[in-house]
């Protein structure tokens, strides 16, 4: 009887049924899918398969090489106006043909946002673009307020992926008006132009992609992809082993050996383009003397943290920079180092009297976050700093009582502006929360770094900003965590260096199945 049941059930299991179908066991499944309002690590897994931007890049390469996507060509007709020719015969998943109006609608939903979740997303990265306008059926223009060094980078953001206008507007209320509720409804029934159509989406639970036969580019290599949330790590590993999943996400370094020692399975991983950081409150009365914060930073042996918590697979940076930032990657700058002797000397100079310094962390929000905090307390103690870990779920980054805590600085796009530049801008999130100060000099340096069209000038200005950070620290990037995926041997897939973190890219050329 048991055998019979087993046989029937196995026959009913759709998993790995055909060579062109795979199942992904994801630690997290998005609760909504709207590339515009989302910038989470969970959502970023899913957009690239179903949506296109006007300009794309070769994601196999670390340095940007721009490629035509929904725009076939683009040029600056004035320093602040870019004109783009649109690809013809592009279809949305619902059958609508993509028009210049769809493109303008998609761009302006962010550039002239009224829907509050769009407003906040557009403000930190698209503020230089007041609007997009239609020239003719196949030509559009995007205007910038001032000369823009990052045209292609910003036009290829996930947030400005193209969605259908008529479809979206008709979702709720007046079919000719874009209401807030239209965008909310879109996030549950997303439609794009990418190689995979979202066939079913159960928020927080599962997603099914189906090959979109009318895709304008190279045919998708997989016919169907099922993504299921398997939040428990042990269950994810087991599902890979039983064959219920072909790829699983979010494997911590200490679990890798479990997969690697099975000869039918393998892993692929990379240091995520995201820093776990320690932030320090410049305005806490007891921490106003920068020497104390310098000591807090110099006392931390980040290589030891990397060895102990990430088996040495993480990346410890010397400054706030990542290899993904191409020409702007400046690994030669030394902004952050480990020097316990200097830390001791600085504390002595500053007259530190042994007062307690609190370090806030959530119990489980960041992988290894609590362990790192506890190790940091030991490192602080070694130079005479009296630290204490405070565990709580509340975000304390905006509290005047904050002394230090953990946080993260993701790379939202491949430029220092996409990481440090967003988080530590004048009037940006850190300053507006009252724990970071800027002045005219900082603002001027930030402006040159953000807007100068001369690459060397941008690098110099960024180095000057890092010098300011070193003198009066408010942040210490600890490491880039190492993230892995487990998969069957038959699957050839790995995260690509040209993507933002966590993207599951299953487009042509990005994944192949050995037995197909």
């Amino acid at each position: 009887m048991f055998r019979l049941m087993l046989a029937t059930a196995l026959a009913a299991l759709p998993l790995a049924a055909s060579a062109q179908e795979i199942t992904v066991g994801a630690a997290n499944m998005a609760a909504y899918l709207d590339p515009g309002r989302d910038h989470s690590n969970v959502g970023s897994q899913f957009y690239y398969n179903s949506f296109d931007t006007l300009i794309d890049r070769d994601h196999t390469k670390l340095a940007p090489e721009w490629e035509p996507a929904l725009a076939t060509s683009w040029e600056l007709i004035e320093p602040t106006i870019m004109e783009l020719k649109l690809r013809e015969n592009v279809k949305f998943h619902n059958g609508d043909a993509m028009t210049a109006d769809d493109v303008i609608f998609s761009l302006n939903r962010m550039m002239q946002a009224t829907f509050p979740p769009y407003v906040v997303r557009a403000k930190d990265r698209l503020a230089n673009f007041p609007m997009a306008e239609k020239v003719d059926e196949h030509t559009i223009r995007i205007r910038a307020n001032r000369e823009e060094p990052l045209w292609e980078t910003l036009i290829s953001l996930q947030q400005v992926m193209i969605i259908p206008e008529a479809y979206t507007k008709a979702l709720t209320g007046d079919p000719l008006v874009a209401e807030d509720s239209d965008f909310e409804a879109f996030a549950l029934a997303p439609v794009g132009t990418g190689p995979y159509r979202i066939e079913t989406f159960q928020p927080g639970e599962s997603l099914v992609w189906e090959r979109f036969d009318n895709f304008w580019g190279d045919k998708a290599p997989l016919e169907r992809v099922n993504v299921v949330q398997i939040s428990e790590t042990a269950s994810r590993l087991t599902a890979l082993k039983t064959g219920e999943a072909d790829i699983i996400t979010n494997i911590a370094p200490d679990q890798l050996s479990l997969i690697d020692k099975d000869k039918n399975l393998k892993t692929a991983g990379s240091a995520t383009a995201l820093f776990h950081v320690m932030i320090m409150n410049q305005n806490h009365p007891k921490l106003e003397d920068p020497r104390i914060r310098q000591a807090m930073s110099l006392a931390i042996d980040r290589d030891a943290l990397n060895e102990a918590l990430w088996l040495g697979k993480g990346v410890v940076p010397s400054t706030h920079t990542m290899a993904e930032m191409g020409a702007l990657h400046q690994p030669d700058l030394v902004t952050f180092e480990y020097d316990p002797e200097r830390a001791k000397a600085l504390l002595k100079e500053a007259g530190y009297d042994g007062f307690e310094i609190t370090f806030d962390t959530a119990p489980s929000y960041y992988t290894n976050g609590l362990l790192a905090a506890q190790a940091i307390m030991e490192m602080w103690a070694a130079v005479g700093l009296n630290g204490k870990v405070v565990v709580g779920d509340k975000w304390t980054g905006n509290s005047p009582d904050l002394m230090a805590r953990n946080w993260s600085n993701p790379m939202y796009f491949a430029d220092p502006f996409g990481s440090f530049g967003v988080m530590w801008a004048p009037d940006g999130p850190s300053q507006s929360e009252g724990r970071f100060n800027t002045d005219a000099d900082y603002a001027q340096k930030w402006e040159r770094f953000r807007y100068s069209t001369d690459l060397e000038e941008r690098k110099v200005a960024y180095a000057e900003l890092m010098e300011r950070v070193k003198e009066n620290p408010a942040v210490l990037p600890l490491y880039r965590p190492f993230e892995s995926w487990g998969m069957k041997n038959a699957i050839n897939w790995a995260p690509m260096p040209g993507h933002i973190p966590y993207v599951l890219d299953f487009r042509a050329g990005s994944i192949t199945l050995t037995d197909s």
């Binding site: 049941m5 087993l6 029937t8 059930a9 009913a12 299991l13 066991g25 609760a31 909504y32 910038h39 989470s40 690590n41 509050p116 979740p117 407003v119 906040v120 403000k123 930190d124 909310e184 409804a185 996030a187 549950l188 159960q202 928020p203 927080g204 639970e205 599962s206 299921v228 949330q229 398997i230 939040s231 428990e232 042990a234 269950s235 590993l237 087991t238 599902a239 082993k241 039983t242 064959g243 219920e244 999943a245 779920d393 509340k394 975000w395 905006n398 946080w407 993260s408 600085n409 993701p410 939202y412 967003v422 988080m423 009037d427 940006g428 999130p429 507006s432 929360e433």
Partner: protein, 308 residues
């Protein structure tokens, strides 16, 4: 009987109101949703804009009144995150949890009552000892350990059973056993003790003296009288299971039920979903308790007579 029923209903309504209030306060004490689900890097103005958008800017008192007004008319609001009505978000997952609950209770009753009866009849032989041993072992083993052990054995090593989701009957085996483990242990012991109690009574001797068959003595007169205890234990267990039992098991087996939803929405501070999820579970518990109360009255005439 009618006044008795009325009392059960009034008790339930008062309990629900208390639960509504406590849930509202507890969810709001746990942190701000803007900190969690919108990710990093919001400016203070951006945060305020979103707080207005999600209507979190009204005072707690106003939010509470709005929540109660909504609850009266069956409107429990939209999820902060996916913006669907919470009734739909929770409703989508209700049946999956219900199935698991029913399967677990079914298995528990099928296994525990016969075991308890056997344990009572053969209390002096090895059969009785074996029953008690099973009961104690089950009691000592928390469901997550049992789950992980089963997953390791039957999926990881033997690859006999699937671990993800609820799509086939095979998927039910491990989660059902995991949920039932402790319940079987408890119910077996209570049934055994209640049976021992009943079988020691004078009317059992009378029944045997009348010349009734032993099976009829045990099942009709023994189990019939042990019934009140057994029902109340089942009621308590089902209520406990509905309230919290499934959270861990659903997570381990990626069961698309309410337990998993509650965990996710608690982590993200999705108040409306969390609130309504807790309320749904609370309603289930209250209803189960009410049914148990009524079942008592049927099982034991003394209860309904005493109350009315």
């Amino acid at each position: 009987m009618i006044p008795y029923l009325a009392r059960v209903v009034v008790k339930s309504v008062v309990t629900l109101f208390a639960i509504f209030t406590v849930t509202f306060i507890a969810t709001r004490l746990s942190g701000n949703p803007i900190d969690t689900f919108l990710g990093e890097g919001l400016t203070t103005e951006g945060r305020e804009e979103l707080i207005r958008y999600f209507q979190l800017d009204a005072s707690l008192w106003q939010q509470y009144l709005a929540f109660l007004r909504g609850a009266m008319s069956g409107e429990f609001g939209l999820s902060f995150i996916d913006r669907r009505p919470v009734t739909q978000v929770v409703g989508d997952r209700l049946w999956a949890s219900g199935q698991l609950l029913l399967a677990s209770v079914g298995l528990t009753v099928l296994v525990a009552i016969p075991l308890g009866v056997l344990g009572a009849i053969y209390r002096k032989s090895w059969v009785g000892s074996a029953v008690m041993m099973i009961a104690f072992a089950g009691y000592a083993m928390p469901s997550f350990i049992l789950s992980i052990l089963m997953v390791l054995t039957f999926s990881y090593w033997l690859n006999w059973l699937p671990v993800v989701g609820n799509s086939t009957l095979l998927h039910f085996i491990m989660p059902t056993i995991a949920m039932s483990g402790v319940l079987v242990a408890a119910l077996t012991r209570f049934t055994r003790n209640a049976m021992l109690d009943a079988l020691g009574q004078d009317f059992i001797r009378t029944a045997r003296a009348k010349g009734l068959r032993e099976s009829r003595v045990v099942l009709r007169h023994g189990l019939g009288n042990a019934g009140v205890t057994v029902i109340s234990v089942i009621g308590l267990q089902v209520a406990g299971l509905a309230a919290a039992g499934s959270v861990v098991v659903e997570n381990i087996f990626s069961w698309p039920g309410i337990g998993q939803l509650l965990v996710n929405s608690a982590l993200e501070r999705d108040y409306p979903v969390l609130q309504f999820g807790v309320i749904t579970v609370a309603i289930a518990v209250v209803v189960i308790n009410a049914i148990t109360d009524i079942a008592y009255a049927f099982a034991d005439p003394r209860i309904r007579l005493a109350h009315s």
